[in-house]
Amino acid sequence: MDAEAAKLIGAGLATMGMIGAGIGVGTIFGNFLSGALRNPSAAGGQFTNLMLGTALVEALGILAFVLSLVILFG
């Protein structure tokens, strides 16, 4: 297998790291929504924590994407 083909396969495999990020962000928002539907008046106060948690989880998925770019173009 030549290096170019291996790079392409490696880049594709690396993006599978975003599966975890997708599940994580979905879990966070799902829990927020189920809590917000039970207590709508308290939901607005937690919006900041929601955004913070989402960014922290999404960061790991973005790291996987950047790593695949590094494999492909680096």
Binding site: M51, L52, A55, A59, I62, F65, L69
Partner: protein, 262 residues
């Protein structure tokens, strides 16, 4: 299709003489497109807040409301997370927030360079934040700063393992802080370029005629994709600046309280 990574190329605009730092080596000094982008971002921030505070009125006009809104947003953040000491760190957090926000947003304008898509820039900002945390922590608590890594109410047997884990995740903070901002900006702009490249390459198919004419609706779809992605990138730019600021605030809070709420 054009290379989506070409936009991140550093180009020297003004080449300055090399600087030799003993022990580090030769530093290639130059004014590059990245430097100019950062100058523009800093200039825009200074200009905006200069305009906001130029004619302050008790009943504010729209520009003053915007400036005061950003100010009170970060002020509330700092005081709610850090407490009464929050005001002391407010200038630093505010500077970081507005600078990162300006760099992110200005990169979305056509033919502008996104300074935060360079790992060097985000790593420098993250190292500055981390250094502030270390300096404040050790200045205030001395060696008691290490109490941060031992949460209270822990059985003695677990303390060594948890100390190592907590220390490792603490040392990882500047890494994740920089990589988060870098990855978001890099990924967003690469995706934008890839979709924009589709518009051209799919539209060029239409020149062949026949089935190639399907290229025109596909190019229109790609254009819609670029619009949607740009909207998403606007959101991500603001969100990542906010996340950088709030994580800075949380890390400074860790340094100020060092494990126990003071």
């Amino acid at each position: 299709m054009a290379d989506p990574m070409h936009q991140f190329q550093i180009q020297k605009v003004v080449d300055l003489p090399d600087v030799t730092i003993p022990g580090v080596g030769v530093i290639d000094m130059a004014i590059t497109n990245s430097t100019i982008a950062m100058f523009i971002a800093a200039g825009v921030v200074i200009l905006f807040f200069g305009l906001v505070t130029m004619n302050p009125k008790v009943v504010p006009g729209r520009l003053q409301v915007a400036g005061e809104g950003i100010f009170s947003f970060i002020d509330d953040l700092a005081t709610s997370v850090i407490g009464h000491e929050g005001r002391k760190f407010f200038p630093f957090i505010f500077t970081v927030f507005t600078f990162v926000l300006a760099m992110n947003l200005l990169g979305l304008l056509p033919a502008q360079f996104t300074a935060t898509s360079q790992l060097a820039v985000t790593l420098t900002l993250a190292v500055m934040v981390f250094s502030l945390v270390l300096i404040v922590g050790f200045w205030r608590h001395g060696l008691g700063f290490f109490k941060l890594f031992v949460p209270s109410g822990l059985p003695i047997a677990m303390v060594p393992i948890l100390f190592v884990i907590e220390l490792f995740s603490f040392l990882l903070r500047p890494v994740t802080l920089s990589l988060r901002l870098f990855g978001n900006m890099l990924g967003g702009h690469v995706a934008l370029k890839v979709f924009a490249g589709f518009i051209i390459s799919l539209g060029a198919l239409a020149a062949g005629g026949g089935f190639g004419l399907l290229g025109i609706p596909a190019a229109a779809l790609s254009f819609g994709g670029v619009l949607a992605l740009t909207a998403l990138e606007l959101l991500v730019a603001c969100l990542q600046a906010f996340v950088f600021a709030i994580l800075t605030t949380i890390y400074i809070n860790d340094a100020v309280t060092a494990g126990h709420g003071h």
